[in-house]
């Protein structure tokens, strides 16, 4: 059954019937299209068992939702669009397991997902999202609308709710995009924050999530309201310095957030989304900004 709706998850569900319609004998083909997995509903049995055990031990019955989100990601509107950043630390309990994690993931030419929460699910959601947007464009010959993108992400987060309810698989992302149709004289940058059930809210000026976010949300509000320059009026360099200082502040109080590691030269990931698309700020540029930031 061919899928003409541009629905990528729908396509995956019917992947095993892809070539049936054209009466091709798939047994003679090397192309294995029979593997049909809905990754967000058909979790492998060992993991399901482990989850059930965890659930019983914790006796969580849906009234308490603990979301492990050891990280800090932050996005804000600036003069040319959106600047979005995340620290690089990945933790397991009190251990630092990785110092070069990428938490700010480009999804298409003008949208970025900054993830906090369980990395396995977060990376998979980002991957499905990327393929969904690409598939829609390729099959329907047009870009998915902003509303369509938001709903696709909502659906993925909502499908992940059972994992979130069991306390180990929650994902709370920030989704930032630039609407390329916007007149170049205006700022087409938009920032959306999601809850664990998939509801999305547009944050006009800034958003932050992760365990370190509580330390900087107030700072962002203060800067936006009473700072010398409103966030939206900052140029790229000022916005970069501000966001580096915010991550540094978060890392000071949150053990799960890393700052700038001068010795190993590990920088946060910082990207801009503008009318021209996504740009990853280079390490040299960040190093230069750090001189001014500290």
């Amino acid at each position: 059954m061919m899928n003409h709706k541009g629905d990528f998850l729908g396509l995956l569900r019917h992947a095993d019937t892809l070539t049936d319609e054209t009466e091709v004998d798939r047994e003679t083909s090397d192309v294995n299209l029979t593997t049909k997995r809905d990754l967000f509903q058909a979790t492998p049995k060992p993991i399901r068992d482990a989850l059930q055990l965890t659930s019983k031990e914790k006796t969580i019955h849906g009234t308490t939702l603990e979301i492990p989100e050891a990280t800090t990601v932050v996005a804000m509107r600036y003069q040319n669009g959106i600047i979005i950043a995340g620290d690089r630390r990945a933790t397991a309990g009190t251990s630092v397991v990785h110092d070069r994690a990428e938490k700010v993931l480009p999804i298409d030419s003008h949208s970025v997902l900054a993830i906090s929460g369980a990395p396995a699910m977060a990376y998979e959601i980002a991957r499905v999202l990327k393929h969904s947007f690409q598939y829609f464009r390729r099959s329907q010959l047009q870009e998915l609308s902003v509303e369509g993108k938001l709903r696709t992400l909502s659906r993925l987060i909502r499908d992940n709710l059972p994992m979130a309810m069991q306390g180990i698989g929650a994902v709370i992302p920030i989704f930032a995009l630039y609407s390329p149709q916007t007149d170049e004289s205006e700022n087409g940058g938009k920032i959306y924050f999601y809850d664990a059930l998939g509801a999305h809210f547009e944050n006009v000026d800034f958003a932050t999530t992760g365990s370190g976010s509580i330390w900087i949300r107030g700072v962002l509000r203060y800067l936006d309201r009473w700072g010398d320059t409103q966030l939206e009026n900052m140029d790229q360099r000022t916005a970069t310095i501000t966001i580096l200082r915010l991550l540094d502040t978060a890392s000071e109080y949150d053990a799960a957030t890393s700052g700038y590691n001068a010795k190993a030269e590990i920088f946060p990931t910082v990207k801009t989304i503008t009318h021209q698309g996504i740009d990853t700020l280079s390490e040299d540029y960040l190093k230069d900004c750090y001189v001014e930031a500290t």
């Binding site: 061919m2 992947a15 054209t22 090397d30 192309v31 598939y135 390729r138 099959s139 698309g277």
Partner: protein
């Protein structure tokens, strides 16, 4: 019918004649490499004919629009599923051609009680690293031809041969910029278009003069417009395909 072999062969020949009659007037497509990647070009009167299949693969076709759409979706769906189930790097034109498209074409063509696909397809995959750029021509009967320098599709094999001869004479050995490549592709397209309008005479007379090329471009562009898609290795994103805007095409053809 299969118990009478000569009738089966006759039926296949009838089917071949029917499909070639249907394809004869199709607007040709030209595929050429340029300094940053590859170009597909045709002239259309509305319906889009050049499509993105995957990050480094594009498609164009002549034939019945319903068949083009059906097979475009098949190859796009297959590439998307493969990329998701394994990795984007595992999707390549060789697999899509030989394990998905070619035998689909052949099976439909030889199943004489069913409907045949009225289509000729040209796919291009730009090289990555050591891999060469590859143009793949798939005929309605499932025959596959792979080229590395250039490829064309036209209504008949005579038209395609004439277009290819023109390219052989005019194509430079060195990599050219996009403007030069588009201009050559447009002239090659015009050779094919001129011959497709001569009907049966084209088999005997495949000579097309520069004046005729200019004339046919002028007259065809009164009603249609150039459609051009590129796979551009210099694009920073994973997806290398983009359709050129009419403004860009205008600038490039006037250079």
């Amino acid at each position: 019918m299969r118990d009478l072999p000569y009738r089966w062969i006759e039926a296949i020949q009838d089917r071949r004649d029917y499909i070639e009659d249907q394809l004869r007037l199709g607007s040709p497509v030209v595929g050429l490499p340029y300094e940053n990647g590859s170009l597909l070009l045709t002239v259309t009167k509305g319906a889009q004919k050049i499509f993105e299949v995957h990050d480094r693969i594009a498609l164009s076709a002549i034939g019945h629009p319903a068949d083009i759409e059906r097979l475009r979706m098949l190859v796009t769906d297959t590439a998307s599923v493969q990329a998701f189930q394994s990795a984007t790097e595992d999707v390549n034109l060789h697999r899509l051609t030989h394990y998905v498209l070619a035998h689909t074409f052949k099976q439909a063509f030889e199943a004489i009680v069913g409907e045949a696909y009225i289509i000729k397809m040209l796919l291009v995959e730009i090289g990555n690293g050591d891999a060469k750029t590859q143009f793949t021509h798939i005929n309605y009967d499932g025959n596959v031809n792979v080229h590395h320098e250039s490829a064309v599709i036209g209504g008949t094999s005579e038209i395609e041969n004439a277009m290819q001869d023109y390219l052989t004479n005019e194509q430079s050995d060195t990599e050219t910029d996009l403007a030069t490549t588009i201009q050559l592709a447009l002239k090659t397209w015009a050779v094919g278009r001129e011959l497709s309008q001569r009907f049966e005479e084209a088999e005997d007379n495949t000579e097309v003069t520069d004046e005729q090329i200019d004339e046919i471009i002028k007259s065809e562009l009164d009603e249609g417009e150039i459609e051009a898609g590129i796979l551009d290795n210099s694009l920073p994103a994973d997806t290398k395909f983009r359709i050129l805007s009419q403004d860009e095409i205008q600038d490039l053809t006037n250079k």
